[in-house]
């Protein structure tokens, strides 16, 4: 029985999407890689950014991506006071887990170790340090960080400064107690303090920033490249001729590809979410249905571009390479891997013109902030407009490309 009109279009769309998913399921190696990809990606990023949380960033003063960096300490002063300072530094380093501290007899020996790569920095207590302290002058410590890696050096400088500030505050507090008995040294040292009230429930980890972004990225990129590969492959192997010479509406062909690829993309996204929740403490505070809607719009917003590129490219390799041109910059410009505010204004403008920026933003708000529809409406409107504009251009281009 031949169904008519919309019912038939929906039926054949489902039939073709089912075939695509069955075809995918039969490629066991592909299924394994497809499932492992988000697991490997999240594990990699999860362990890359394990300890930066907004809580310790503000309150604890010890933001670190690196664990127990080897630092040397050289006590040139050799006094009781300098020994005490060196001990305090070693103890603080150990309790905060920032550095593993070793003492060296001379700066030359320590520098040799730095050249060998066995030390990442040296803290020097110079001669005259204790004398300056005793005579109420400012005493200076010298830090030599291994700046062959500027990023690491800058992190060491920041962290050592934090520890020295604590030690210095301790020294100051004891002096204040000596001078003004009964006074609160903390109030005198820091008359105005800042307390932080969390906006995000629980402990907002960097991962809570990354996970929604990666979900949006995976569902978009997975669908985009899956769509291109699937259409090009069918064209190259000849099966598209079989479909196009049957009484199937042209838009149903596109709809079926979208449906199958979206289902695959969403599966990957949920794997990302599950791993984030199980291993990296991400919690979903928002509405799961709103999350699914956002991911669906994320896919739809980019699918038009994918179809246009695939139609123009003609064959698989060209299509995939052309898509890389979009995928790579999109990953870094769309507020997914790091905050877009770090970028110069023109790159920010490009990032904000890409739909991934809006889907990542909406998803992040739903997952972390329990945002409701009215909070994310502007993001969703942009995604809907993008979808309408690109798909209305893509469908005639696709139809023309397969009948040229």
């Amino acid at each position: 029985m031949i169904r008519t009109g919309a019912r038939r279009a929906i039926y054949v769309t489902m039939v073709m999407a089912h075939k695509d998913l069955l075809d995918f399921w039969k490629a066991k190696m592909l299924v394994v890689s497809f499932t492992l990809f988000p697991i490997v990606m999240m594990a990699m990023f999860g362990y890359m950014f394990p300890s930066i949380t907004s809580t310790n960033l503000y309150a604890g003063k010890f933001p670190s991506q690196y664990g127990r960096l080897p630092i040397g300490i050289v006590d040139e002063d050799g006094s009781r006071i300098s020994e005490g300072i060196a001990d305090q530094f070693a103890q603080l380093s150990s309790t905060t887990g920032l550095f593993s501290v070793r003492s060296f007899a001379s700066l030359e020996v320590a520098k040799d170790k730095m050249t060998e790569g066995k030390l990442k920095g040296v803290l020097v207590i110079p001669r005259g340090f204790s004398e300056a302290l005793s005579s109420n002058r400012q005493a200076t410590l010298i830090l030599i960080a291994d700046d062959t890696n500027p990023q690491l050096a800058s992190s060491i400088i920041g962290q050592v400064s934090s520890l020295i500030r604590i030690i210095s505050e301790g020294v100051a507090a004891s002096r204040i107690s000596d001078i003004a008995a009964g006074a609160d040294p903390e109030a005198l040292l820091e008359p105005i303090s800042l307390e932080r009230e969390p906006f995000v429930k629980g402990s907002a980890t960097t991962f809570q920033f990354l996970a929604p972004g990666f979900m949006a990225l995976t569902v978009t990129m997975g669908t985009l490249s899956g769509l291109a590969a699937s259409i090009s492959r069918e064209r190259e192997q000849g099966t598209l001729d079989g479909i196009m010479s049957s009484p199937v509406p042209r838009y149903a062909v596109i709809a079926s590809k979208l449906l199958a690829q979206t289902a695959r993309g969403m599966l990957q996204s949920f794997i990302i979410l599950a791993i984030s929740m199980l291993f990296f403490g991400v919690r979903v505070y928002g509405n799961p249905l709103l999350m699914v809607l956002t991911m669906f719009l994320a896919v739809l917003s980019f699918s038009g571009i994918g179809i246009i590129i695939t139609s123009i490219a003609g064959e698989q390799e060209t299509a995939m390479t052309s898509l890389m041109l979009i995928n790579m910059p999109m990953t870094f410009l769309s507020n997914v891997v790091f905050p877009i505010e770090q970028l110069p204004w023109f790159l920010q403008a490009i990032g904000k013109s890409l739909p991934l920026y809006y889907s990542a933003d909406a998803l992040r708000k739903i997952i972390v902030l329990n945002a409701q529809m009215h909070h994310i409406a502007p993001d969703l409107i942009v995604l809907v407009l993008y979808s309408l504009a690109t798909l209305s251009a893509a469908i005639p281009i696709f139809v023309r490309s397969v009948s040229r």
């Binding site: 029985m1 031949i2 069955l22 001729d241 049957s246 009484p247 009948s403």
Partner: protein
């Protein structure tokens, strides 16, 4: 007997290259019509237009009484296509492949299942029907590919080089199958390079070159007209004996699409 296919001035251009040049064609219902021509002559482009896969630049054609542009969906319901490339998914098995294509034609349930079993039996693949067809031999794949096009019982069947690359046993099997299909009153358009195949199977043949139809007649009529004993001599007489891959005859693939 009516006409299964009528074409009037059918033309397809790719930029400045004319792949099919004002072709007029009539194919009678129930006949096997052979379409012969050297590589790049325009056979596949003509077939692609008649099967609605490509829009003509100029001219019109009716397939089964339906216009190939304005009534493309009606045309698609009554034609079957065995193209140059296999229209089968290598990872799926024979049953899954046939079930999928059957559903595209609105078939389903027990009717489709019965038809699939019947066709698989017809091409003697019952033992292998649950294996992915990627593991089949070329002959097995092509047998399945031919019956795939018969799922919806099309009135007009387009066969583009159905025996290319097959072993002699498979060639014999497919040719016998084509003869059987004609018995049911089906019209068959057969594109081939193999002259004895065209001679054995076709009621009439058209020889096409440089996008134009040079001659249309029965194989016997053509041989008599040119005073030769086989169709190959007629073909070479009309299209020349030189190789077609000389540099001056080659047109970039991008420019000509699938000719």
């Amino acid at each position: 007997m009516g006409l299964a296919i009528e074409a009037f001035g059918l033309t397809k251009r790719f930029g400045s290259f004319t792949a099919v040049d004002h072709v007029d064609l009539s194919v009678k219902e129930g006949e096997i019509f052979g379409l012969l021509g050297p590589n790049g002559a325009g056979k596949s482009t003509l077939v692609r237009m008649l099967t609605t896969l490509m829009r003509p630049t100029e001219g019109t054609a009716k397939v089964g009484g339906y216009d190939i542009v304005n009534q493309a969906d009606e045309v698609r319901k009554i034609i079957g296509l065995v193209a140059e490339k296999l229209i089968l998914y290598p990872r799926l098995n024979a049953v899954e492949n046939l079930m999928f294509f059957g559903r595209l034609y609105g078939m389903g349930g027990e009717e489709l299942r019965r038809k699939v079993d019947e066709l698989i039996e017809m091409v003697r693949l019952e033992r292998f029907k649950h294996f992915p067809i990627g593991g089949y031999s070329s002959g097995m794949r092509q047998r399945l590919n031919v019956v795939r096009a018969l799922l919806h019982d099309p009135k007009i069947l387009f066969l583009d080089e159905p025996t290319a690359m097959l072993d002699p046993q498979s060639i014999r099997f497919v040719r016998d199958l084509i003869k059987d299909l004609r018995k049911g009153g089906r019209t068959i358009i057969l594109t081939t390079h193999i002259m004895d195949e065209a001679e054995e199977l076709s009621d009439r043949v058209a020889i096409i070159d440089h996008g134009r139809i040079l001659v249309v007649d029965t194989p016997e009529g053509l041989k008599a007209r040119f005073g030769v004993s086989n169709l190959l001599e007629v073909f070479l007489e009309l299209t020349g004996r030189d190789l077609r891959d000389r540099a001056e005859n080659r047109v970039p693939i991008r420019a000509i699409g699938r000719v």
